[in-house]
């Protein structure tokens, strides 16, 4: 039986966003990254309608994590005390497209590092690698409001992607991102209505929606991925329908969420298969699933998962 050709066309599109600034544009990056631009659902139209290739941002933490499973940590043991070397390794050995510095270490319940530390890490990584950066706070509003403006300032001119701002905490970081010329991550807790509201709030502050990337929160395989998928899909459909307030490219946090799942790291689990494969597969499967709902930037951690997902992207977006 022949497969009928089903084609939908849409009036709207996902915004095209370019991260990073090279010397010519006042920064020090050796390359930039452009995402977005899709004019159809994933796999839904012609190659031209697919937009830019999705990219992988590998996580680098500002201080050595103590809760990473061995299987993940063993890839970074030699660099975990030096974010600059860590970033370099992700780029040179693991093929990351960009680096996401996650400032876990500034959290009061963790290392409680100060702004000076975060600024130093930012400067070191900027020197070590030439790719664009994502700079992401720890999630504690008070501490983020103290530290992230300084981090933003340290990266001024580099056109980084900085985040994240929420419905309850957006003013400080939005203002500083605007002043420093960065792109901004708007963050909602798996809630499309709040996602739209945060975008409106930052837009009301004068922040251009064309410089926003949305983060709808991520659920890993087995842990709410269906919610993340359907919200991501709804965002894409709204963008294609012409809703300018939802027309942003999307970022998702696959690395952290996948490695929280016990299935990715439990060693003593007869019948679940070799844990050495299981963890990276869990991360890769989560990423590939969300790619199909329409995400543009994927934060990842395990080099084998990164290789698998890159291979998938390269085959699909030719």
């Amino acid at each position: 039986m022949p497969v009928p050709e089903i084609k939908e066309s849409y009036t709207g599109s996902v915004n095209r966003v370019t991260l990073g600034a090279t010397k010519d544009s006042g920064g020090s990056r050796t390359s930039t990254i452009t995402v977005g631009g899709a004019r159809n659902v994933v796999y839904g139209g012609s190659v031209e309608e697919a937009g830019e290739k999705p990219v992988i941002a590998m996580d680098v933490l500002d201080s050595r994590p103590d809760d990473w499973p061995d299987l993940l940590a063993e890839n970074y043991q030699d660099v975990m005390d030096s974010p600059a070397d860590w970033a370099k390794k992700c780029i040179e050995q693991f093929g990351a497209d960009l680096i996401c510095i996650k400032f876990e270490g500034i959290h009061p319940d963790k290392a409680d590092n100060d702004a000076a530390h975060a600024v130093k890490v930012t400067e070191d990584v900027l020197k070590a690698v030439g790719v664009p950066l994502v700079l992401w706070g720890c999630g504690n509003d008070e501490k983020d409001n103290q530290v992230m403006p300084k981090v933003s300032e340290a990266a001024k001119g580099e056109n980084v992607l900085i985040g994240s701002v929420t419905e309850d905490n957006y003013k400080a970081l939005t203002a500083i991102a605007l002043a420093d010329g960065h792109h901004l991550i708007t963050h909602a807790p798996l809630d499309i209505n709040i996602a739209k509201q945060v975008n409106i709030l930052v837009s009301d502050m004068g922040f251009p929606l064309e410089k926003v990337v949305t983060f709808q929160a991520t659920g890993a395989l087995g842990y709410g991925i269906e919610y993340a998928y359907s919200i991501q899909e709804r965002q894409r459909l709204a963008a294609l329908g012409g809703d300018k307030i939802m027309a942003m490219p999307a970022i998702c946090d696959v690395g952290y969420e996948s490695w929280r799942a016990k299935e990715s790291k439990l060693e003593d689990a007869p019948g679940w298969g070799d844990v050495k494969d299981r963890g990276p597969m869990w991360e890769a499967t989560t990423a590939i699933c969300l790619l199909q709902a329409g995400v543009d930037i994927i934060r990842m951690r395990h080099p084998r998962a990164v290789a698998t997902v890159k291979n998938f992207i390269n085959q699909i977006w030719q």
Binding site: T11, G12, N193, K196, I200, G242, D243, K244
Partner: protein
């Protein structure tokens, strides 16, 4: 929702006076105000594609209707590039307007019945004029023929079916067709039942073509001569939208009415809800 601002109409005293004295300023003011209100309402995509229109109706006062139509069109085009909806039952007046209108901005010819006793081919004439003006020119066709305005649901639907069929035969894209099932004042003797007839007719008209032809209404007619005009307009607009109305000739300066459009769109899941949904629709950002 495709909105057509109703205020530039010779039936309004200020417009009538402006026409009589050839005073451009009040006309241009109305054009600007309605564009701002209509354009900032809802999504920019509609204004970008020229889908928010300004109605242009010379009324009955002017002796030279064709000349007045041209004067109005030229006067408006001096201040804005908003798409125009040329409003006259006389093909000659429409033709005069088309001659000077910039059809690239979008144009709507408003309106023709299926046929008239005095002119069997009137609908054909409007289609020809639209084709000559270019692909961005659309037509409003009334569900009405030489027998007058239908008084029931079935006749409205039958006329709409004839309209769609005739357009298809002539190769006129049904996406360029706005069908107007004709709103009547609710307080006219025996007209009160017509509101329900219109809604029932719209339920069927939307299936006459795929994709459905546009449906529009001269909304303010409904409340003509009543008390609580604005309330009646608002409620009937919401009801009609839920039956498939996707365009209306309205007072775009009526903020409460615009809020109804925004809320109906949201409730029908055409816009994603957010706490600031009204602001998104009406804020001038």
């Amino acid at each position: 929702m495709i909105l057509i601002g109703e205020r530039i109409n010779g039936m309004f005293t200020d417009v009538k006076e402006a026409i009589a004295s050839k005073n451009k300023q009040p006309i241009q003011e109305l054009a600007k105000k309605q564009t701002e209100s209509g354009a900032t309402y809802l999504d920019k995509k509609q204004t970008e594609s020229g889908a928010t229109y300004l109605d242009v109706n010379v009324g009955t006062a002017a002796a030279d209707q064709e000349g007045t139509m041209q004067w109005l069109v030229e006067t408006i085009q001096e201040t804005c590039t908003t798409a125009l909806c040329l409003d006259s039952q006389k093909p000659g007046v429409i033709a005069a307007g088309v001659k000077v209108a910039n059809a690239e901005n979008g144009l709507l010819l408003n309106s023709t019945p299926l046929n008239k006793k005095s002119d069997e081919e009137v609908f054909d004439k409007y289609m020809e004029m639209a084709d000559q003006a270019g692909p961005k020119t659309n037509i409003i066709t009334l569900t009405m023929d030489k027998n007058g305005v239908p008084q029931d649901t079935d006749t409205r639907v039958a006329l709409a079916a004839e309209i769609v069929q005739k357009a298809m035969e002539k190769g006129f894209d049904t996406q360029r067709l706005f069908i107007d099932p004709i709103a009547l004042p609710v307080n006219v003797p025996n007209a009160q039942i017509q509101m329900l007839n219109i809604l029932n007719a719209m339920d069927q008209i939307k299936y006459l073509a795929d994709p459905a032809p546009h449906m529009t209404l001269g909304l303010s007619n409904v409340s003509q001569g009543t008390s609580e005009r604005s309330l009646i307009n608002r409620i009937f607009l919401a009801m009609a939208m839920s039956h498939g109305l996707d365009s209306a000739i309205v007072d775009v300066l009526d903020k409460d009415l615009m809020n109804v459009v925004a809320t109906s769109d949201m409730l029908m899941n055409k816009q994603i809800y957010s706490d600031s949904f009204l602001k998104v629709y009406t804020a001038a950002n």
